[in-house]
């Protein structure tokens, strides 16, 4: 039976089912409800784990690094500044091939300070070697966490996974979710059996340094593994469907793309708003669809071009920006099409920074203007009064 849970509670209940042995976190809005719920579950004995309240996110990531290297399944969660502070450790965790799973409750980055949602934080970790999966709603966020452990601990992969969910829009919203049955979860995700871990029984050296004649290979093999992880993510999603009877969790997901001449491409909770718009437009007979990107890393370039084959115009919406360069996701989508004889027109739209609302009208304007020719707005809905004119 479905439960009406706050997103954070739903995540915490899912993590409980995943049975991490060591959890470490530092409080930061809007991640707090997740770790508060987990603390309560641990305090009540519903979750048998060491819950380490640390003095910074840098230490939270380092505690799970140490615990993972000692053979324990681990979990941490953060957002925004916390993720930026962790960044050094995130690179290290991936480089050491530790299957840590973490949640990023996506939030803007300072300055100006903003506790509200966008995805600039997790985008900064895109080159770190972590697998990054983006959730559309609470249910998918739960499902992706369960899959995340399976993917991370797969012996072909052994890389960390970050599940990204929009702060407040998912973390603080009450939605009905289907809770996991313990028996099914144990079948889908058995206890973690590490390949190598710190023990005097087999005194291994972790974290050597590499001379220039070896460093490139160490980085290449992570890149190659991330490429190969696409297959594992797909396999895991299929297996998930078999066990739990619901879908999602593939690299990408399409919505009314078959006969579409126009497509939105986006990640995260904005997909819900886009679906409403597409439903409305479809009723009017307009051929518009959506490609939801679930896996940002590994980047599913081939899957994107296949799904968008024959579509004339593509609007890439993203809640992030590379200052001094522009949209990030849009460039990667464009790159996927590079070298093809016939390429669609692809425009990028930066929306929803720092929690700015993305009303249906704005989304429809993007569609109307771009569909009819122009519409490379880049930054959508700028307030020119604040800027002192155009």
């Amino acid at each position: 039976m479905e439960k009406l849970w706050e997103g954070s509670r739903a995540i915490a209940e899912t993590i409980k089912m995943c049975r991490p042995k060591v959890i470490s976190a530092y409080p930061i809005t809007p991640q707090t409800h997740i770790v508060e719920s987990l603390s309560q579950l641990a305090a009540d004995g519903d979750l048998v784990a060491e819950f380490i309240n640390v003095e910074s996110e840098h230490s939270a990531a380092s505690v799970v690094l140490g615990a993972s290297a000692t053979g324990a399944r681990t979990y941490t969660a953060t957002t925004s500044q916390g993720l930026l502070l962790m960044l050094e450790v995130l690179y290290n965790i991936a480089g050491m091939r530790l299957p840590v799973v973490m949640t990023c409750a996506n939030r803007a980055v300072s300055a100006p300070l903003s506790i509200w949602n966008d995805q600039q934080d997790s985008f900064t970790a895109r080159d770190s070697g972590w697998i990054q999966l983006y959730a559309e709603d609470s249910q998918e966020a739960c499902d992706l966490h369960l899959m995340a452990y399976r993917i991370a601990e797969d012996k072909r992969i052994m890389l960390p996974v970050m599940v990204c969910l929009d702060g407040f829009f998912i973390s603080h919203t009450f939605e009905p979710v289907e809770p996991f049955e313990e028996e099914n979860v144990k079948q889908f995700l058995p206890d973690y059996q590490p390949l190598h871990y710190l023990t005097p029984k087999n005194p291994l050296t972790f974290g050597s340094f590499a001379e220039p004649d070896k460093y490139t290979e160490a980085r290449y093999i992570i890149h190659r593994t991330l490429e190969e992880s696409k297959m594992v993510i797909r396999e895991t999603a299929e297996d998930f469907k078999k066990v739990f009877g619901r879908g999602g969790g593939d690299l990408v997901e399409d919505y009314f793309l078959e006969d579409a001449d126009f497509a939105f491409v986006a990640m995260g909770s904005i997909i819900g708003s886009l679906k409403d718009l597409v439903d409305k437009l479809r009723e009017k007979g307009e051929k518009v669809g959506i490609l939801k990107i679930i896996s940002f890393r590994p980047f599913p370039g081939k899957e994107i071009t296949t799904a968008l084959e024959g579509i004339e115009k593509i609007a890439v919406l993203e809640k992030a920006v590379s200052l001094g360069s522009g949209g990030i996701l849009v460039k990667e989508v464009k790159e996927s099409f590079y070298g093809r004889k016939k390429t669609p027109q692809i425009n990028g739209f930066i929306v929803g920074l720092g929690g700015r609302d993305i009303p249906q009208d704005s989304l429809e304007n993007i569609y109307r203007e771009f569909h009819q020719g122009s519409g490379d707005a880049s930054f959508v809905d700028l307030n020119y009064e604040l800027l002192g004119g155009k």
Partner: protein
């Protein structure tokens, strides 16, 4: 002969105090340990992939997070019912422990992890080319505190990390030096048996950084204690319980003159006054740690 848990063949410099101290610590702690190591000389001279000098399970992650990594190791052992398998040691140089890693170290102490933290104090960032750290002493010449027309070198005395450790209320804090191998052994063996956080600081001369003769590492380390510059002591539950004592302390010049890092104090005009300041630091230590033997007291064995 017992196996050395830090294998020979690593690439530390001749006369390196740190490599000697690490070997003594590991051998005293025994095989059933897991070591988390900060970035720095000790990590570099032991872990050039695919070589390793470590005969015990060892992990290096980053510079400032060693104590947090060790916390995670200890937590994982505890939750998996493997506590009896290994004791955990978090170690690094003074940069990694006293400066950039101090926050993580403080967190580990305050959370009461059963971890022995060891700081190999060579009084500066030696791995990066002899820059000053928070544990660099007064008037030291380093590459970032060079003496000059307006400078005598490092302008502040060193930070008192053992006292900071003790302020956390941890059960055991000790200071020792590579000049006293038996003292290191005893303190490590004592510390590792105590449940909870422990801190040992080991004076580890660096011939390269201190511009001293590799053959004089032990002599310099001994003189540091014998002049009152670097008192060797123990604090149990926050109270000083023992300190190395002498019938007579030596003047600081005997210690300073063996090291190029203090040579400007003997060549530059006004150096006498600076040496007086250093003598004052030593005198204060001698008083604080009651380092002069009284009638009837016996000299402790080394």
């Amino acid at each position: 002969m017992k196996k050395n848990l830090l294998a020979p063949g690593h690439s530390a410099c001749a006369g390196c105090g740190e490599s000697l101290a690490i070997r003594l610590v590991l051998n005293a702690a025994g095989e059933n340990i897991i070591v988390a190591n900060a970035t720095g000389c000790s990590e570099i001279f032991t872990s050039n992939y695919p070589l390793s000098a470590w005969e015990v399970p060892w992990i290096h992650s980053l510079f400032e997070n060693t104590a947090a990594v060790a916390s995670g190791i200890e937590a994982a052992l505890k939750v998996s019912g493997r506590k009896s398998e290994a004791k955990v040691i978090a170690q690094g140089g003074d940069g990694g422990m006293a400066d950039i890693g101090l926050q993580a170290l403080s967190g580990m102490w305050e959370r009461w992890h059963d971890v022995l933290s060891v700081c190999y104090d060579n009084e500066g960032y030696m791995n990066t080319g002899i820059q000053r750290s928070g544990l660099t002493p007064l008037d030291t010449k380093t590459t970032t505190t060079p003496p000059g027309k307006f400078s005598w070198g490092n302008y502040r005395p060193k930070k008192n990390l053992p006292l900071i450790a003790a302020a956390h209320g941890i059960p055991y804090v000790a200071v020792t030096t590579v000049a006293y191998p038996r003292d290191i052994e005893e303190k490590v063996q004592k510390a590792i048996k105590i449940e909870g956080p422990k801190y040992i600081q080991i004076y580890s001369p660096c011939p390269l950084g201190w511009r001293s003769e590799p053959s004089q590492t032990i002599e310099i380390a001994r003189l540091a204690v014998e002049t009152g510059i670097y008192p060797v002591y123990e604090m149990i539950n926050g109270k000083i319980t023992s300190a190395k004592k002498f019938s007579k302390l030596k003047p600081v010049e005997e210690f300073l003159k063996l090291q190029g890092r203090f040579s400007h104090l003997f060549t530059k005009e006004g150096g006498d006054e600076e040496i007086k300041k250093i003598q004052k630091i030593a005198d204060d230590n001698i008083n604080q740690f009651d380092m002069i033997l009284k009638d009837g007291e016996e000299l402790q064995k080394e």
